[in-house]
Structures are given as structure tokens and as C-alpha cells.
């Protein structure tokens, strides 16, 4: 029989309720709900989909549609800090390829893979809107701009 009860903490449910209160429909809070849950659990698991669907009164497939549509939701486990290296045109023109290569080498992973210690997963990202600081990458929520390959260690050291 299916597991009953929610995996969401009371604190998350309260945050979701606060967000839902801003809109005429509860559904409008779905991205926020998924974001809060992902911050807690690291990714959007079946349990997260079920819990978010229940708290907002949606069907699971509706929640799953949203979770799979947006890049920032991970429907499989990822590292503690997703590293998204912008590879789009402005960064490409300023050496994003070299940054990606250096990063993968330093972390010992290929694009899309997670480091053995579970800290980082490396992604090639579409434009992150910081082209004035190209090449750049986002580690978690933080932007790091004007990157140089030999400074990556310093940046990564800030994420334990």
C-alpha cells in the first residue's frame, strides 16, 4: 500500500501557504513549493511530487509536468551544489569552453556528472543573463563572473 503522510516539514508547508496566499489560485505557488522542497531534499523525488500535489490540491502529473519543464528543477539526484557553466554565445566568445574543460578536469567529472563526494554536479547552462561578466558560472544561487581557469579552485573552495 502506498505510503501516507507528507514528507514536507511544517516550516516548508508554512512557506508554501504564505506563497499561495499571494495569488488567486493555489496552483500559482507550485514553482515556489518545488523550490522549497528541492532546497530541503536536493531534488524533486516522487515523495516531493506527491507532497506538493497534495498541499496545493493538484494532480501529481500536473506537478511533474512543471518539474520537468523548468531547468532549475532536478528530477534526479544531483550534487549539493549544482554548478552551471554558461556556454551561450557571449560566454563562448570569451572562453567558456576553456572554463568548462578546466572545471571538469579539476572535479574529475564529465559534463552532467556528480563528483564522487556528492558536492558538485556540472551542467552546461544556457545564458544566465550575466554576459557582461563572461565567462561566468552559477554555483548554487551564486554567480561567479569574469572567470579565469586558474581561479576556479578558489571559487569552489567556498562550497563545502
Amino acid at each position: 500500500m502506498e505510503q501516507t503522510g507528507t514528507i514536507l516539514t511544517e516550516a516548508i508547508i508554512q512557506k508554501i501557504e504564505a506563497e499561495a496566499g499571494k495569488y488567486p489560485t493555489r496552483r500559482a505557488a507550485v514553482k515556489s513549493a518545488l523550490r522549497y522542497a528541492q532546497a530541503e531534499f536536493g531534488w524533486i523525488s516522487e515523495g516531493v511530487v506527491k507532497a506538493v500535489a497534495e498541499v496545493l490540491g493538484l494532480e501529481r502529473i500536473e506537478v511533474f509536468e512543471v518539474a520537468t519543464f523548468y531547468d532549475m528543477f532536478y528530477t534526479r539526484p544531483v550534487g549539493k551544489f549544482p554548478v552551471r557553466v554558461c556556454t551561450n554565445v557571449s560566454c563562448l566568445l570569451r572562453g567558456a569552453d576553456g572554463i568548462m574543460e578546466a572545471l571538469c578536469q579539476r572535479l574529475g567529472v564529465e559534463e552532467g556528472e556528480t563528483t564522487a563526494d556528492g558536492r558538485f554536479t556540472v551542467f552546461a547552462a544556457e545564458c544566465l543573463g550575466a554576459c557582461g561578466g563572461a565567462p561566468m558560472m552559477a554555483v548554487g544561487d551564486d554567480y561567479h563572473e569574469d572567470l579565469k581557469a586558474d581561479e576556479l579552485d578558489n571559487v569552489l573552495a567556498g562550497y563545502q
Binding site: 500500500m1 516522487e46 511530487v49 494532480e59 501529481r60 502529473i61 511533474f64 509536468e65 520537468t68 519543464f69
Partner: protein
């Protein structure tokens, strides 16, 4: 200034009138100007995503989708200009680049809009040289086969689920090229109308699983039929090849089923096609039932009937299944009554007949099916329309979507596909009392002239006002006090000005009109004597009994009593289509053909008579029932039994009047003792039983595909409230023994907070569960 009632657009040089606000594609369709399309469907929301219907509109800088561009007066549209055709060809090219070239092995081949339109708008070779996309198939359950690589992402199936069926099972996940039509975590599609996505899918991504690889569309012959499994009279087309029904598809009828059919309508044919068919008359000899000739079988039948009637006409009785055609009901009651007996009934599951004298000529819905959408509200009493008449549930859902309200007074919370704004859940014993309370409240409202909202349902009724309907379902009609419930519902309808409806099984309306009830002959005329009803017949000591299409171990409110009657009877004559439905007591077996092989008429819940034509010739030596009964009439030398064809029988039955449920019912006295719901002794649970959707009749019961669905597997379960489970020490127990006074059964147990405390819910469509008919309470013990 009034808005204009029509606008004029010019399509391909032709002036076409259209409703303001309608789309170009509707105007073109009405004028028989063809515009290619995939995602557009008149019953679904506009998606405008396939881009196949692009047309050239004068003054528009680019081609516009005809499905989503509203007409405007003076608009000039070209559907075949160079610009339009180039756009359509462009879309076709994109649709085909990732579509597999597997038409020869695709079931959709030959009736595929993509294939057809590719002939008109495609090129003979592809310019696409990259790798083609492939998608794994989806397992949607036993009814719908999938080949998702063929999917063109029109989202018709997704929109059907969300908008029409109200079950959000399919979704479109991912985005861009990765967009995938799927269910969450590979779940199956379990709605009772899921087969419609097969018809909606414009390619071979979703096809019928039972039909898979069994025929090509150009080999199929089509026959117009009427689905006999509920009282709606759903219009179907039976398609045959090589002397068998290959599939059933909808036939459009806006007044009844629109373009939909239920899965039961669609896949029940598998039951009629099964190997369990009776193909030869049989008669009991020393060694058991042996095949015999028609002559002998009917001769012996006539003799047994005459012998019984000669002794005492009450020694002859007949039970007929409500799915039978009107002609079958009519002729069966004629042969029985021709011998002086009025003991015939089709109301096999009914237990209370106290209001027979004032019953309407036939039961039905006072609101037209096509008007249900626009009612302000419906109060369901003991009714689960989703399982009793799935397409009616779609209508109610539409009503709710359009702002109407639905309320329910019942004994458990069914999983409905529309939301309820009021719900009162009581045990069956309490139900009449609660209904009486509603009537009293409505009376008080009548005299006081002000809102009287003592409870949710009274509030609901005053919100609905007159423009609504009270609808009784099997939980009410098969109730121990059904007569009281019908009477009270009638009073409530009178007081509130609401319409009244009863949702009877199969062709029950036709059986009433044809006289297959003990107290009335055909056309609602009173019978000479009021014979025993279906429940009383089970207590009789008859000499000869006719079972017509009845599977006695299941098709009766109390199969155990019925078995006793069959044991006592001297001659049991079983008319039927299936070997396994023949009771052990049968002395003569008369093989009659199912509806797929017969002509017959059906009276639906709105008083519409429709004729179903045979799709096949009768299998083996079986024969259409009306012919068999006509010959039986001749064997009995009954007068006026010289029908040449089935239409003559129908003509004799005449045209029934409109549905009128409310005649005189307010005058019937209601017994007062029914609303004292006694608390059960410790450890006793009230039984709440519902006949499950795929156990409605012997044909549906034998559909392999339907038996494999979620609903088909429901018989094995009983459901209890989680608190009751805990209190009874049954938490964590997977199997329980339900023990009543007359019957017991071991069932899996599931917790369900929709079951009212102190009761246990079972589906009553199997031999194991139907036996509880005589019990209204059971004890429950764990089974290890």
C-alpha cells in the same frame, strides 16, 4: 445596438455565414471546405499547436491557424492558395521528420489522418537526414496500446483527460523535442471512458489493445448498434471482419453520447466474442445436458410451461435480464401471460417494490441528457454516475465546469470526476430518514418562504432552486426501502420544482414499456393479476421457470434464495448466450445470440427508442431471442404470434410517451418505521454494496480486457474506514472474512476514509460477493 447574429466570410471565393466568435475552421467545416488539422477537435479546447490548419487570411502578414482565428465580417480566407499550401506542406514535413515509416505494421494505417494528409500535403521523399527520435512505449493498461514514437504531440489525449473525463492521468512532460505524453510513474489509464483517446489520437500512438493487429480498417464492415449496458442508449458502430466483431467505435449523437462512448460500450464485445458461447440447444438426459434440436428444445419448453400453467398459472415464472431488447421482453411476457401467469420481472436487483402501483410507465430522466450540462444542480441519491452511466457523469462534469453544483446523499464517497458542493454520507439504514428530513425542510421552506438551511443538502437544494434534477442510482433503487426513497425523492422534487430521474440498469425502461413487470402488461397497462416480483419469485415453489439472459448466481438481489427456488422447480429453462452462465439446475438450455448478432430496440432514459442492427449472423446454432420466442409462441399455439420480422414487434409496442416520473407519487403513504436507524450490535458492520461497472451483465462480465482493468479487479476487495479497521483490530491485516447470516466470503481489505463508519463496502458483482444479498450486516474477522 444588438450584436450581429451572423458574419459573412469569404472562403476560397465562396461566401460563408458564420456565428460571430466562431473560428474559421468551424465556418469552413460547416461549408464543407476541408482544412487539414490534427490538434483541433470540436469538443476540446483550442490548442492551436499542430499548425496544420494554417490558412491565408487577407491583410494578415503570415498564415493563421484556422482553428484559433475568429471569423470577422468581410474576412477573406484562402485555404488552398500558394501561401496556405506552402505553410501546410511545411507543417507536414516537420510532422513527418520524426514520425516512423512503419505504416505497414501500424494499426492506424488506412484510417490515419496523418497518413491521409501526408498524401495530400507531403512529399514523396524526406529531406531529413538526421537521426530520428524514438520513444519507449507506455504501458497504459489493458485497453490502450501505445507506440509513442508515432506521437505528434497534438495533446488531444491530454486535453480529453483534463477537460472531458476529469481524470488527469496523461500529461505532457518535458519540453521542446523531449516533450513526452505519459502518465505519472508509468501509471495506467483507469478512467471508465479512456478508450476515447484511441479515437482522438490522429496517429497510431494510441490504439486499441484488444483490436491490435487483428484487422485492417478497409476489411471492416460497419453496423449501427446501441450499447445495451446502461440506460443512455449510446450509439455505437460495431465493426466486423471474418465473422467476428473486431471493435466498437462511437457513432455521433449529440442528444445522447455526443462523440464519446464508455469503455464498457467499447470493449464489452469481447464478452460476446468469447469461447464460452452456447451454440446448440441442450436438454437434460440421464447423462446430463446433451445437445438437441431446436424442435425438441422448444417443444419440451412449451410442454413444461403448459404443464405448469395447467396446474396453476402461478406455477410458471420468468426472470429476464434488463439488458434484453424490448422485443425480447415483450415476447417473453406475452408467452408467459399467454399461459395466464403474470410472474415475470426484469428488476433482478431490486428488493422493495412497494410503490409499484404508482410507478411511472417506465423509468428515466425527466431532463434530456443534452440539457444536463446546463442544469443548475443535481442531487445524487445513492448514485455513482461515473460507474453506472459513465457518459452521464461526463455531462454532470460539464454542468459543474459551467458553474452548476452537484450534491450527494449516499453511503460512501465515490471517486467522482466532478466536485461535490454538498455530501452527506450515511449508512443505508439511515438513508430514508435523512431524505425524509430533507423533505420536511423543503416543506418548512415552502410555508415559511425563507431560506431554511439546517444542513448542507438543504442549503444545496435552495441554492439550486427549480432548475435541477434529483437523480436516484442503484444505491437507492436496490435499497431495502427503495419504494420509500423513490416516494420521498418524488415529494422533494415536487416541493423544490426539480426534475426527477432514476438511473436504471440496461434497457430497464424498455422492459417496463414492454411489460416485463408483474403488475403491468405492455404500454403500461395494468396486468390482470399482480404476479410475483423478482424478489418474490425467488421464494415461490414454481414448477417451471424461465431464466432469460440471467446468470442466477449473480444476477439477483439474493442469489442464495434464487438457487433454492431453482432447486425446487421441476423444470428450469435457461435462455442465454454463455455456457458458464447456465445454472446446474437447468433442464433445457436455449442458446440465444447476444446483441451483437441480433436486431432489437432499446428505450433509453429519455424515452428515445433506437434500433440496433445485427453485426454478425448468429454463432453456431444460436438464434436471436425474439425469433426463438416467436416460435415458442407458435409451439404454444398462442394467438397473434405471426411476426415476420422484428420491426413488426416494435410497431406493436408503439411509441412510448415522454418520461414522466412525478405522477401522483405524493399521495403514497410512506411507512414511518424506516427512519429509525438502529445502532448495530457490537461487531456488526452494515453492508454497502455496489454492482461494479464491469459486472453489470453476462456479456460485460466476460470481456477479457475489461476484467483486467482496475475496475475489473475490484471484486476481490472490501473497504473499511481506517478508524474502524483500527478499532476492530484489523489494522495491517490484508485479508478478512466477511460473515453474514446467509453467506460469507474472504476478501482483501483496503482502507478507505470515504466509507461511512460502521459499514463495509463491497462490490457485489461476483459470485463471492453477490451472495450477501440476503444480509444487511456482517461480522468481520481477519484471515491469516
Amino acid at each position: 445596438m444588438d450584436a450581429p447574429t451572423t458574419v459573412t466570410v469569404v472562403i476560397n471565393g465562396r461566401e460563408v455565414h458564420a456565428e460571430p466568435g466562431s473560428m474559421i475552421i468551424e465556418a469552413a467545416d460547416a461549408a464543407n471546405i476541408y482544412i487539414p488539422r490534427f490538434c483541433y477537435h470540436p469538443k476540446l479546447s483550442i490548442a492551436a499547436n499542430c499548425r496544420m490548419c494554417l490558412v491565408e487570411v487577407e491583410k494578415a502578414p503570415k498564415p493563421l491557424p484556422a482553428c484559433a482565428t475568429p471569423v470577422a465580417d468581410g474576412m477573406v480566407v484562402q485555404t488552398r492558395s500558394a501561401t496556405a499550401v506552402e505553410a501546410q506542406q511545411g507543417t507536414m514535413e516537420f510532422l513527418l521528420i520524426n514520425h516512423p515509416l512503419d505504416c505497414p505494421v501500424c494499426d492506424q494505417g488506412g484510417e490515419c489522418p496523418l497518413q491521409d494528409q501526408a498524401m495530400g500535403y507531403g512529399q514523396d521523399s524526406s529531406r531529413y537526414e538526421e537521426e530520428k527520435r524514438a520513444k519507449p512505449p507506455l504501458d497504459l493498461g489493458p485497453l490502450v496500446a501505445t507506440a509513442m514514437t508515432r506521437c505528434i504531440h497534438c495533446t488531444r489525449c491530454v486535453r480529453f483527460g483534463r477537460e472531458i473525463a476529469g481524470t488527469m492521468e496523461l500529461g505532457a512532460t518535458g519540453r521542446g523535442e523531449d516533450m513526452t505524453i505519459e502518465t505519472y510513474l508509468d501509471g495506467s489509464v483507469d478512467s471508465e471512458v479512456s478508450g476515447n483517446i484511441i479515437d482522438l489520437c490522429p496517429v497510431g500512438a494510441l490504439t486499441s489493445k484488444p483490436y491490435r493487429f487483428s484487422a485492417r480498417p478497409w476489411e471492416l464492415f460497419s453496423h449501427e448498434g446501441i450499447s445495451p449496458h446502461d440506460s443512455l442508449g449510446t450509439n455505437i458502430t460495431l465493426q466486423t471482419a471474418h465473422q467476428s466483431v473486431k471493435r466498437v467505435v462511437p457513432r455521433n449523437n449529440e442528444k445522447i453520447n455526443e462523440c464519446w462512448i464508455s469503455d464498457r460500450d467499447r470493449f464489452a464485445y469481447e464478452g460476446a466474442e468469447c469461447d464460452d458461447r452456447l451454440t446448440q440447444p441442450m436438454i437434460r438426459r440421464k447423462e446430463g445436458l446433451v445437445e438437441t434440436s431446436w424442435e425438441e428444445a422448444l417443444g419440451e419448453t412449451a410442454a413444461a410451461m403448459r404443464q405448469a400453467a395447467e396446474q396453476d398459472s402461478s406455477k410458471l415464472a420468468a426472470l429476464i435480464h434488463p439488458m434484453s431488447s424490448m422485443e425480447e421482453s415483450f415476447l417473453l411476457q406475452r408467452v408467459v401471460r399467454g399461459l395466464g401467469s403474470d410472474q415475470i420481472d426484469h428488476r433482478l436487483l431490486q428488493q422493495d417494490f412497494s410503490d409499484d402501483a404508482v410507478a411511472p410507465v417506465y423509468p428515466g430522466l425527466e431532463a434530456a441528457l443534452s440539457d444536463v450540462d446546463s442544469l443548475k444542480g443535481i442531487l445524487l441519491i445513492g448514485c455513482n454516475p461515473r460507474k453506472e452511466a459513465p457518459l452521464l457523469a461526463l455531462r454532470i462534469r460539464k454542468m459543474v465546469e459551467q458553474g452548476g453544483v452537484a450534491g450527494l446523499l449516499g453511503s460512501y464517497a465515490p471517486d467522482l470526476n466532478f466536485s461535490l458542493s454538498a455530501f452527506h454520507c450515511v449508512t443505508p439504514a439511515e438513508l430514508p430518514g435523512v431524505l425524509r428530513g430533507l423533505v420536511n425542510n423543503a416543506e418548512a421552506l415552502d410555508s415559511a418562504g425563507e431560506s431554511f438551511e439546517s444542513d448542507a443538502l438543504s442549503g444545496f437544494l435552495s441554492e439550486v432552486g427549480g432548475n435541477g434534477m434529483i437523480l436516484l442510482g442503484q444505491g437507492a433503487l436496490n435499497h431495502l426501502h427503495a419504494g420509500t426513497i423513490r416516494t420521498l425523492a418524488g415529494r422533494l422534487a415536487q416541493q423544490t420544482g426539480m426534475k426527477l430521474g432514476v438511473l436504471t440498469p440496461g434497457n430497464s425502461a424498455g422492459a417496463w414499456w414492454a411489460g416485463a413487470v408483474p403488475h403491468r402488461i405492455a404500454q403500461g397497462m395494468p396486468a390482470k393479476t399482480a404476479g410475483a416480483n423478482a424478489s418474490q419469485i425467488a421464494d415461490l415453489d414454481v414448477k417451471t421457470v424461465l431464466l432469460y439472459g440471467v446468470e442466477p448466481s449473480i444476477d439477483h438481489s439474493d442469489p442464495i434464495r434464487l438457487q433454492g427456488m431453482l432447486d425446487r422447480a421441476k423444470t428450469v429453462i435457461a435462455f442465454g448466450a454463455f455456457r458458464s452462465a447456465v445454472p446446474d439446475q437447468a433442464d433445457i438450455v436455449v442458446p440465444i445470440s447476444p446483441y451483437t448478432e441480433c436486431s432489437g430496440s432499446y428505450l433509453n432514459c429519455n424515452g428515445i427508442v433506437q434500433v440496433s442492427s445485427p453485426a454478425l449472423s448468429p454463432r453456431g446454432n444460436s438464434r436471436p431471442g425474439w425469433k426463438v420466442l416467436r416460435v415458442l409462441g407458435n409451439f404454444l399455439s398462442l394467438p397473434d404470434f405471426d411476426y415476420d420480422d422484428v420491426a413488426q414487434v416494435a410497431t406493436e409496442l408503439g411509441h412510448p410517451p415522454e418520461v414522466l416520473m412525478q405522477a401522483d407519487k405524493a399521495q403514497i403513504p410512506v411507512s414511518e418505521d424506516v427512519d429509525s436507524a438502529s445502532a448495530h450490535a457490537d461487531g456488526l458492520f452494515s453492508l454497502v454494496a455496489e454492482r461494479s461497472i464491469y459486472q453489470a451483465d453476462p456479456i460485460v462480465r466476460r470481456s477479457r480486457a475489461l476484467s483486467l482493468t482496475h475496475d475489473g479487479a475490484s471484486e476481490a476487495f472490501c473497504r473499511l474506514h481506517p478508524e474502524d479497521l483500527k478499532a476492530a483490530g484489523l489494522a495491517g491485516v490484508s485479508r478478512v472474512l466477511l460473515a453474514g447470516e446467509y453467506h460469507q466470503a474472504t476478501l482483501e481489505v483496503a482502507e478507505d476514509s470515504g466509507v461511512v463508519r460502521g459499514s463495509v463496502f463491497v462490490f457485489s458483482g461476483s459470485v463471492a460477493t453477490a451472495g450477501f444479498g440476503g444480509d444487511s450486516t456482517v461480522r468481520i474477522r481477519p484471515v491469516t
